[in-house]
Each structure stands twice: as C-alpha cells, then as structure tokens.
Symmetry: C2
Subunit: 124 residues, 2 copies
C-alpha cells in the first residue's frame, strides 16, 4: 500500500498540475478520475483517463524533468499525495546504474507519448 502524506480534492475540470511546470509529487487517485493531456501544435490531446487506484505524476519524479503532461480532475476527484521523503529516501538508496534503468524507461515513455501525440495531431 502507498504511504500517503496528505489528501487534496479537486473539482471537475480543475487542473492538478500543468505541463511544463515544476513539481515532482506522485499522486494516487482515491476518488474520481484524472485526465492526462498534452498540448501539441496548439491542440490539447488526451493521452489517458486514469481511474481510481491509478498513480500519476511519476514521470517527473523519476526523470526530474518538468511535468510532461497536464493532469485535470474529471468530476470531484480526491488524490492522495504520496509521501515524498519516503520515496526520495528509497530512490536515493538505489545504486546509480539501477536508477539509470528507470530514467531510461521514463525517457522512452516520454518519447513514445510524444510520437503518439504527433500522430494524433497529424504531424509526422
């Protein structure tokens, strides 16, 4: 089970975090759902609708990049914010090369997602 530091409730359509901003908390959806979207060529493309029980925000945590997508509440949505101290501690305990494996996966996910978005917006 996830160690939750605090809870936050968002109204329908409210932005939880915005693409390009800084922040690397990881969230767990307790109630409601969350839309993950990206902007490309002026269009907002929905990547995924995540249901209760799913986590999101993990990309920025792993890669230390700015948020790669926007998270928006669908309906009244409560998220648990996963305890960062605990995660930082665990992540920092991992050997460098092991962390690099996860960075690689995160970088590839970002690239694949961008390719999906590019295809969706008609860009080659």
């Amino acid at each position: 089970m996830f160690q939750i530091a605090s809870y936050e409730t968002f109204q329908d359509g409210q932005i939880i975090f915005q693409e390009g901003t800084h922040g690397d908390w990881i969230y767990l959806i307790e109630e409601g759902s969350v839309e993950i979207s990206k902007k490309m060529r002026g269009r907002r493309v929905v990547i995924e609708i995540l249901p209760r029980g799913e986590i999101f925000g993990e990309m920025a945590f792993i890669s230390k990049m700015p948020r790669t997508a926007t998270a928006t509440a669908i309906g009244e949505t409560t998220v648990g914010i996963i305890d960062r101290d605990y995660y930082d501690h665990e992540f920092n305990k991992m050997p460098d090369d092991f962390r690099q494996v996860f960075n690689t996966v995160a970088a590839r996910l970002k690239k694949a997602t961008d390719a999906v978005i590019a295809a969706a917006t008609g860009e080659e």
Copy 2:
C-alpha cells in the same frame, strides 16, 4: 557504471531476443547498435535504433512480462549482460509500492509503444 556479468557478440542481423519470448536480462550496448522492432498485423515496425552506451531489455525485467519487442544486432555488436543477481537483489529491496511505480511506467510505455506501432501500421 553498470556491473556486467558477461559479454556476447552478435553478427549483423542476428536476433538478440525475440518479441514474445521469456527472459529478462538487461543489456548494455558496448559496440555496434541494436534495432528494437515489433510485429503488428504481419508487419515489422522499427521502434528505435539504439547506439552504443544505451541499455535495452529493461521492460521485461521491470514488468516480468515476456519480451515486448525484438532486439536485432546492426553490424557486429557486442553487448554486456548486466548482472542479474545484483539487480534482483536491489529490486527486491525496494518497497512494494515503490516497485509498483516502476511497473506503472513500464505498462504505460508498453501501451504508448503499441499505439505508435498501431499508427505506423495504419490501424486505429
């Protein structure tokens, strides 16, 4: 730096591992390059060409799924096989929920890659 258990050399066009098979070693490209491809609707689609210094095979390690893609040597290619005992040990030391974060990323990468492939093969 990565702890390498052994090295293996493949000739141009030789398959390092095949999509759908079992095995979860992680490889580091020491010399040459590796083509990552997937089959969809009878077509083989190249996802990526990885150069020297890149790792591959990490998806099966993280997710414990069969190989999600085929890895083929481009030119004479030497790969280092990363010490599994060491990785298993590190991965097993991670708390369950932390491991779940990485499983989530791996699952999303698989999904995004499949979407890219589907777009490339003209499937909706």
